[in-house]
Amino acid sequence: MRSNSSNNVIEIHGLTKRFGSFTAVDHVSLQIPQGQIFGFLGPNGAGKTTTMRMVLGLLPPSEGTAIVLGNDIRKQARTIRARLGYMSQKFTLYNDLTVEENLRFYGRSYGLRNNKLKSRLDYVLDIADLKGREHYTPTQLSGGWRQRLALGAAIIHEPDIIFLDEPTAGVDPLSRRAFWELLYTISSAGTTIFITTHYMDEAEHCEQLGFIYFGRLIATGSPTEIKQKHVPGNVVQFTPEYPVKTLQVLRTAQQQGELENTSNIDLYGAQIHVLTHNGDMIRDHITALLDQQEQPYTDMQVIPPSLEDAFLRLTAAQK
């Protein structure tokens, strides 16, 4: 039933949602082709989850349409649902049921039977590396395992699209790594992934990104397109001896207009990033300033901007 005009699995036009006088989502339009990993970024409360729930048919939109797999979500919600998977922000598996009982319930809800159910169950247990932990209840599992279990539950019926709402929140780097490897295998099998996240390094792995701010879609495109459009030029990065002090020095300098055509100056862990149009020229300028202000530093270099720079730039621009 795919709309053969384009192989878009999700087409959203002017989707809006108003809660009383507050507009949570303001005329968002998006196209997501089949098999793509789509990242949906934005600060808390920007309307990410609301948009997702509208596309899932959980929340009736105030305006606009959402065509998923060729069907309008308002009318054929139920037929679409059989081919969707959803992993919400809150862990919504049953804490008092064991891992196996949870997965069997999900499998059966999507109509899987006996040997099909068995094979899918083994597949999910395998990729989520929960073999041998079937009898644990989710409360006995650590954060990472619970995330993989929730993902497993969402893909047990081989959905065409899976929606993941901040799946890796609060998960340590290694488990995040494992989680994304899992996503790659799923995506390579042709499943479209619609994911929201706050980890900008994860956003880099997405093929298309949407950036929403106070309900309005302010940027879309591949990670490289977004970086080129919104963060032209590059970043001067160095490791200051006294990060907080040096940051203060640079920011006051910028306010006094000494560092023209530089935009965001932020801390990235132990390094400081200075966003500029022309990296080399600004780098010498900064080294001079730092020496003059006796702010010791190491590893001064010019690197291309990352998505985190883009995120900070876009939010700063909107304020």
Binding site: N44, Q140, D172, P173, L174, D201, L267, G269, L312
Partner: protein, 320 residues
């Protein structure tokens, strides 16, 4: 300030097979006024440790003192000047920001003019002023976290225990949160914070890496980075996935870690730079750039945990 001696905690029935040791004989000393970061994979015992220090979870064996008060016998005295922020939002969803803060002030006996002044100060601090009358369930994730922090700061505690305060918060709000923390730290209070974000751990005086309930490493970020044997090269290329598989076959490469749009390659020393380039070009991977980059705790963390897993597997094999 904090002194623990072989602190440990197990969950689950003694006899039943799935008894889990969450924290395994942890010995740790945190001096007054330090910003201490606690990192580690999930289930490493970070939350359990913080809960034991906050005196809301009894340790199974071992003990610990906070400014010389025992965490089990004198838990109540410790709590007088302790600020604790649990992982999930610990305040009341159906109460407004004001009502929540006033309630906490009552609990900590912050009264009269001091209360009004303190609340005002905190709302400035976290710029939550215009949300005073909003129910906390209508606050965004970042704002809820700031409210949680202010609740823990109402009585100006000299020890702050924060359990993953910035989880699920966007990068901008995270930075604002940490600016508050560094300011607090500058004013002298001791802060122990557990976090999954390695970039935040970088801003701590010392970082403790926990793994399966044990303290695997505990030192300043700088010293931890020295644990990395060799140099880190950042590779920017087209097909990073394929590059990763190729480099894994190279014996002299110690570890390969993808991060966003770059691939961090750990090699013993600079001499391997040329050899890496050749290997990649043999498999016709177009390299945009391959340059040494300062190691970050993220890479140290992944390297150490993988190392640890290899050793413990080795041990298991010996015993198995």
């Amino acid at each position: 300030m904090i002194q623990t001696h072989r602190l440990s905690r197990t969950f689950g029935k003694r006899l039943r097979r799935n008894q889990i040791t969450a924290v395994d004989s942890l010995s740790l000393t945190i001096p007054q006024g330090e910003l201490f970061g606690l990192v580690g994979p999930d289930g490493a015992g970070k939350t359990t440790t913080l809960r034991m220090l906050a005196g809301i979870l009894k340790p199974t064996t071992g003990n610990a003192t906070i400014s010389d008060h025992d965490i089990v016998d004198e838990a109540e005295t410790i709590k007088q000047s302790l600020g604790y922020m649990p992982q999930q939002f610990g305040l009341y969803q159906d109460l407004t920001v004001d009502e929540n803060l006033n309630f906490i002030c009552d609990v900590f006996n912050v009264v009269g003019a001091a209360r009004e002044h303190r609340i005002h100060e905190l709302l400035d601090f976290t710029n939550l002023h215009e949300f005073r009358q909003r129910r906390s369930k209508h606050l965004s994730g970042g704002m809820q976290k700031k409210l949680g922090l202010s609740a823990a700061l109402v009585h100006k505690p000299n020890l702050l225990l924060l359990d993953e305060p910035t989880t699920g918060v966007d990068p901008v709000a995270r930075r604002e949160f940490w600016d508050i923390l560094t300011e607090l730290h500058a004013s002298g209070s001791t802060i122990v914070v557990s976090t999954p974000y390695m970039d935040e751990a970088e801003r701590c005086n010392r970082v403790g890496l926990m793994y399966e309930g044990k303290l695997m490493a505990c030192d300043t970020p700088l010293k931890l980075k020295q644990l990395l044997p060799g140099v880190v090269y950042a590779l920017r290329a087209d097909d990073l996935l394929r590059a990763e598989r190729i480099l894994k076959t190279n014996a002299s490469v110690l570890d390969v870690q993808p991060y966003g749009d770059i691939l961090n390659i750990i090699v013993p020393d600079e001499s391997h730079h040329r050899q890496l380039k050749e290997q990649l070009s043999q498999h016709d991977i177009t390299i945009h750039s391959l340059r040494p980059t300062p190691p970050r705790l993220e890479e140290v963390f992944i390297y150490l945990v993988r190392q640890y897993r290899k050793d413990s597997n080795l041990q298991q094999e010996q015993f198995a």
